[in-house]
């Protein structure tokens, strides 16, 4: 059962990798990285149950959070062109 799940996730990993390698636009690649992070979370969770150590689930959850933050950073880069600078229209709060 878990073996079948892991095999299925590995196949989807291969498909996602193919999209990341070929991906004509950058948005394909961003989406590929994001969904590859999800695949990593899934495979770690499945592997934890496969080896009888469900505590790996916590690590998988942290990976999901990191993946989210990374995607936010990449998308912000694309929206504004860089990451740290305040935009001129933005008031200098903080």
């Amino acid at each position: 059962m878990y073996i079948a799940g892991i095999a299925a996730v590995l196949v989807t990993m291969a498909l996602t990798l193919a999209r990341a390698f070929m991906g004509p636009t950058v948005y394909d690649r961003i989406l590929a990285v994001n969904s590859f992070g999800t695949k990593t979370v899934l495979i770690i969770a499945l592997y934890g149950y496969f080896t009888g150590r469900p505590d790996f689930l916590d690590i998988a959850l942290v990976y999901a959070l990191i993946n989210f933050i990374g995607t936010i950073a990449v998308l912000k880069f694309f929206e504004y062109g860089d990451l740290g600078r305040d935009r001129p229209s933005q008031p200098d709060d903080i």
Binding site: L17, A20, F21, Y63, G70, A73, L83
Partner: protein, 186 residues
Amino acid sequence: MDIGSFLINAILLVFLAATAIAVARLQNLFAGAMLFGIYSLLSAGVFVVLDAVDVAFTEAAVGAGIATILMLSTIALTGIKHESIPIRPLRSLLLVAVVGAALIYGTFDMPRFGDAEAPAHQHVALRYLQQSGDEIGIPNVVTSVLASYRGYDTLGEVAVIFTAGIGVLCLLGGSRRRRTDPADKS
């Protein structure tokens, strides 16, 4: 390691090699940064299968999280394309092959994976496991090793991290003050 873990590891390593080759062949730096994120996630998966969960944790946080953001910031400052410079692939390939062969030769002397007779399990680990409860009085062995047996080492690490934090705060604070300077707005 049983056959299932071995197969998963082998497949993940094939993906890892494919990603590395794809990064080396790409001209677009942004796509390279994205593929490096995938590379980090894959190696974190390999580390989890090899039972090095803490290493995997660091790899995912630093490699996939922080390093990708740092690369993107660098691209924002420099530019998204790189000029192709003439390289000698044969010489580089030879160098990499020699270094790789030397590293593989070096692994022959290492104890097998999970070997109970390995030197790392013979020297002080037994004492830590059997007597740290009486000697230190903390039920968690890792905590007593880090905070007591290697207390000076940990103190040094904390000092290094504290210094790095002060440096980062100085850099960030300095740039913010300059930006709010009224002379800058004109």
